[in-house]
Symmetry: C2
Subunit: 158 residues, 2 copies
DNA sequence: TCAGGATACATGCATTTGCATCTATCTCCG
DNA sequence: CGGAGATAGATGCAAATGCATGTATCCTGA
């Protein structure tokens, strides 16, 4: 499938440095985002679930698919979704093709909440990132992290 | 998008895309790291504290300084450190210049644990990152995330 | 100098999380 | 077919977390 890249594998030192830097940046940004009053109503993880569902609108997602996007144990996500359902933000129904599975979809209220919170969220991100990186740098950051994620997901199944 | 516009003021869309991509990459990598058996002995957050302490060896760190590096509420970190102390991995003593503060330092056992776990950790990171990005890309990723973190920390105090 | 407010950390308590395990369903291959 | 193992999701329970608040100490300005 992939022709081997001509260059040698990067050193352990380089990779560790990159991960450390990526991780710390994520922590720094996340700390500021969490402080946003918009997340009093709904935690980051809850919002993340609503957001992920909003990007795959038709038919919703299975619990295990959702689980790939969120950093939570399966049981924790199960109960998080249960809470969202109790709040009327998502609906759960049996998956059509697999009687073991459940399909989770956004309700109208859930979609509305996602959009409302998402607007403030996105504005806050722009505020944090805007002065830090220019357009080219942002594009490059997006490219690199996307490439990293894709390789990790493809070549290192859980 | 305007190719003619040089830079400054990236769009909300661009920043949101970059953050989403950065965040998802972090989740994907973190998921794999957490699966490493090395983290049965000590969770990621616990390791993160030991690692942070290991990078500032002389005199240790104050609890509130530590808190800047970890994505935990102050009370949670307080108790996390308490647990590490009970396991003999860190020591807590009164800060010399401020009677309200405590200074946290690695014990010998803590340093040993950090090094031992860190070795496997770093190897696992190299395995995940190595095939994904080449040396130049890693360096650029490091540069961009470092720049992002610095700007966020400097311009957006909590 | 000292009152009012800020800061550092700890603690009570309800919520959330993860691990282990359970049930139900699916898949494969004899 | 049919039984062994895999997979999806739920649940009991102990541990971890966050919020609100408490206590002690520090700082500032009148």
């Amino acid at each position: 499938m992939s022709t081997a890249t001509p260059q040698q594998a990067p050193s352990v030192r380089e990779t560790a440095e990159a991960w450390e830097s990526l991780f710390r940046a994520q922590v720094a940004v996340m700390r500021r985002l969490q402080a946003d009053p918009a997340f009093k109503e709904l935690g980051m993880k809850e919002y993340d679930v609503l957001f992920t569902l909003s990007t795959c609108p038709e038919g919703g997602l299975r619990l295990n698919e959702l689980n790939d996007h969120v950093l939570l144990a399966q049981s924790s996500l199960s109960r998080l979704v249960e809470r969202l359902e109790r709040r009327g933000l998502v609906a759960r129904r049996a998956a059509p093709d697999d009687a073991r599975g459940i399909l989770i979809t956004l309700t109208e209220a859930g979609l509305e909440a996602q959009r409302r919170i998402g607007r403030g969220h996105v504005r806050e991100i722009a505020r944090l990132f805007g002065s830090a990186l220019d357009g080219d740098e942002l594009a490059e950051l997006t490219r690199l992290t996307t490439k990293l994620r894709q390789h990790v997901v493809q070549n290192h199944a859980l």
